[in-house]
Amino acid sequence: MTREERNLVTAAVDGSLPSAEEGRVRELLKRDAEAMELYAREALLHGELEWHYGALRQSQAALRRRAEVVEEFRRRRTRRISIASLGIAATGLLMFAGLGYLRESPEPVATLRFNEGAVSRLVRASESDGKSGIVPGDRLVLERGTVELVFPQGVRAVIEAPAGMNFTGGNALLMDHGIGFFEIERPEAEGFRLTLPRSEVVDLGTSFGIIAPEDGAAEIHLIDGRVTTQRRAGTFRRATDPRPGQAYREDDNTATGYSMIPFRDDRFPRQLPDRLDHVAIDFNRIDDDGAFAATGPLPARVREVIVNGGEIRRTPGRLGRAVSFDGSGSHLEIMGWSEYHHRPSGALSFWVRLQEARSERRYCLVSWGATTREDLGRWSVAVSPRREGAHLSIRGGMDREYHLSAASRLDYHTWHHLAFVFGPETDGRTRVRIFIDGIEQPDSMSVPVLPGPAADDALIIGTHHDPRLWQSHASRCDIDDLRIYRTAPDEEDIAILASGGDPAGGG
């Protein structure tokens, strides 16, 4: 086996083998026992490493959950102390102690604002009532999404997950990892100090970006103005002063501790993402395994389920590529979407083009929600084909079925945009608004709040013959650009979606 062949085999194990080389490696494995032995050894270790680190990840998640429980316990305990203090304060006996506590509360050093769907943990430095804002010593871990920090002296920062940071003062931040954009909005904030694990950056009136991986060299990109940066530990090194449009990465092999790298202005988030945070399955993206890939902040997975040897074809869509269901019952399952369930408000939007009906049997376009509890929490959108067009109907759990008026009719062979907007919830009921081609239908309804889906409840595109679900026949339609929104879009947003645009501004 040549060196090149060895490299191809290890690349195959690493998942970085170009598809053009797959045939060659297959042949190599067939004819060369040494290559097969190498592949088996490497692949086995690869799997063991995945297992080891996967187990580690789970135990860390368990630790995080434990930390959250401890945090919640501390918060409740603090609340109890506050309530007790109020009662006793009436006697005047402990009022002095209460005032003393208030006097000791440190000044807030920053305010935080998160984008929709962000997941974070705030670990308090001391027991406070939770209303006092961020104080020195507090730690924020951002697991998903983006946070905007505003420091009272005039520094604004926008930081993307995964990130971890400690608040050290009114004009300073310690960030151990994350990708962030920093700008000084007022001159009195000059001198803002950002401490990274191995560098210290002092802002002298400017905007700059930081890329700080959890393990690895941090990068400093100067967008405008002036900063000075210096390595924190090791040998005495002089400061580096990048010029606007320059970027440096920590490098132990240079005299300054930095080496120059290409500047990347586009990498840094300047604002919190738009409120219309969503998961999209546009059928244009295909992952390394040849499966459709979802985009968005959740690790949603798309599974193709083939029934009766049917086919889910790719077809030219309303926006790029779409999927086509051939009446066999094959369908797509979107896993891992349940965190995006519409509670208390949200929306589902997609494009559909119906094929000419062969019978009047109803079939499902999309269904979502909980499959447990005897279908109580399942939503299904279906069409009943008729000669003049198809009638839309919705089933919203609790055996309730809503047939929409004849006005809500879909023509064959024409792309229609459908949107179902849920929320808000009041008195145990949810408002559902239905839009066809951007126009709200008169059939909007108020329905009981349904139980949310479990983690393994799939969102199904097409018809799924599950006896627990609403019985309908196999789908004959094309579907494109399905999106799940966590926040309810308004009429204007729906109109933008129905015109093929993107209200999130993502293009």
């Binding site: 290890t10 297992w51 193709e304 083939i306």
Partner: protein
């Protein structure tokens, strides 16, 4: 409360001890970790329902991976998703045999040895493994983030795995039950 018979308890312990080894075997034959997890679950169910067919004292790893192999074949056929390299039965059979040899005589002890050997790597190597396997970053992404070429990084990973393999073998030899 009823007690679990001792042979059943031993069988459960065998399934539990071999989880990492079964996963690694399956993972080598399917395109994604998600597929591998699904197949391991199916294998566990099959191991449980066919418990009476296993002869105590015989090679459990060989027995379990034979079941896992059939699950891989079923799964790939059902889902029409194959490993890009393992597309026919001949190759799949060959790989299954090679994986059995690579796992050696004590596949259930390899994970403990691996954990020990990961700890012995230097900080940079551990950091790279954590990025690749804990954060699930691709080699390409790590290369891009660290400003290295993909092929250079691939070599680094290959060297780390080589180091780990030597360490695992020596650890297993040193700690072999007498």
């Amino acid at each position: 409360m009823s007690r679990i018979p001792s042979e059943t308890a031993e069988y459960i312990a065998l399934i539990s001890k071999h989880q990492a080894a079964i996963y690694a075997f399956v993972r080598a034959m399917v395109p994604s970790a998600e597929d591998a997890e699904d197949i391991v679950q199916e294998t566990n169910i099959a191991l449980w329902t066919s418990a009476n067919r296993f002869r105590p004292g015989s090679n459990f790893y060989a027995y379990a991976t034979r079941i896992a192999y059939h699950k891989v074949v079923d799964h790939s056929r059902r889902r029409k998703r194959h490993h890009p390299l393992i597309v026919d039965t001949e190759l799949a059979e060959k790989l299954a045999a090679s994986l059995g040899e690579a796992a050696g005589g004590t596949p259930d002890r390899r994970l403990a040895a691996l954990e020990h050997c990961v700890e012995k790597l230097d900080t940079g190597e551990r950091g790279l493994l954590a990025q690749r396997y804990q954060r699930n970053l691709t080699v390409r992404r790590i290369a891009r983030d660290s400003g290295r070429s993909e092929s250079a990084l691939q070599n680094v990973f290959s060297k780390i795995r080589h180091k780990l393999r030597l360490c695992i073998e020596s650890t297993l030899a040193r700690t072999a039950p007498t």
